[in-house]
Symmetry: C2
Subunit: 213 residues, 2 copies
């Protein structure tokens, strides 16, 4: 059965999944990139960006797993780009250039309609304006037997999580403090939602946990 999964989502020691003040220069908010240091060192990331060979241990294995058996993605609007309000035009095509690393349909949550955007390498961005449950239905239909991955950000994950729709989460706790920003689990009772710690593996760069139910 197709699962709804969160993968390779990093939080700080104090629980923040993004720093404050996201904008074009800081897609992950101030100090947000520090959350992803573990990921930037992996072979997955470095190959993806033509940076040569990277780390191939536990961090990389966890990163690789995030792309296995994924048939569709769901992204919050802010993860797709820094544009707020109605789209001024179709010039913003995502953070990732003409060949985004998804290679499957990607459903972007937004309040503002826009035609689908077909990119190179198999990624098509679909803009969903009728709610997060509709986005999930469409993503499941596109994914078939494969899983749907929620890319983020924090508010998108929290929306699916509190609705009881998320099946599995791989969270990487990075050794940084953010102090402010978007808190991933604040006010959410994970055991009450049925989650337990299924895996716990640590590296110099991060503490990886898989929460499942």
């Amino acid at each position: 059965m197709s699962k709804l999964r969160v993968q390779s989502f990093a939080i700080s020691l104090d629980g923040f999944g993004a720093g404050p003040r996201q904008d074009l220069e800081n897609p992950l908010g101030e100090h947000g990139p520090e959350l992803m240091e573990w990921f930037f060192a992996t072979n997955v990331w470095r190959q993806m960006h033509g940076l040569g060979v990277g780390e191939t241990g536990v961090d990389n294995a966890m990163a690789e797993r995030g792309f296995e058996n994924i048939g569709a993605w769901i992204l919050g609007r802010n993860m797709f780009g820094p544009v707020r309000g109605p789209w001024p035009d179709d010039s913003w095509r995502g953070w990732w250039g003409e060949t985004p690393p998804y290679h499957v349909p990607v459903f972007v949550l937004t309040h503002h309609a826009r035609p689908p955007l077909e990119m190179d390498g198999g990624t098509t961005f679909h803009f969903v304006t009728d709610g997060f449950e509709s986005a999930l239905r469409q993503a499941r239909a596109a994914a078939g037997d494969r899983d749907v991955r929620i890319g983020g950000g924090v508010s998108t994950i929290r929306q699916y999580l509190t609705a009881g729709l998320v099946d599995e989460m791989h969270i990487a706790i990075s050794p940084v403090l953010l102090g402010r920003g978007e808190h991933l689990f604040g006010g959410i009772d994970l055991p009450a939602l049925g989650f337990r710690v299924a895996e716990h593996v640590t590296t110099k760069a991060a503490t990886h946990v898989v929460l499942s139910r």
Copy 2:
């Protein structure tokens, strides 16, 4: 210079330092003891309780460090015992039997006066009714050149932390979810208080971080 330190204080993956519903049977709240699994396996703990030899790796080294150069402790009332309101009598003498593991003066924050309680092995409990800053002054005077350790619980640590009085914290993040209880860092901006991650070392049992400023 004498420091105010938090040591071996464990939190869950979702940030709780104690579970809900503390009482005589559950001094750490429901599921609270799961936070301390890493500690219960250490040689420090096992020797302390006459349980034979324990683990002597990183977890034990971090536990040992918590007792080094400590000249006085500060405890919240709930950490001293389950009694709430005025002391009905002097029968409650702490959770630890007649020879508590402190071996130095311990200052207990309470709203209800009580004479000092001298135990075996060098521990004397002093009951401080005129506030957390007074407790710190008394603890510093007792500790001399050595450091003062805050034993907990969560609300006591938060009180000293938000007042800008804590110098160093060793936090152990345990691979458990609590969902509810007392959140250690909720609403506290650690970088704004000057904290940074000074050490990060992980084991199968916990992610140890030392936050200092």
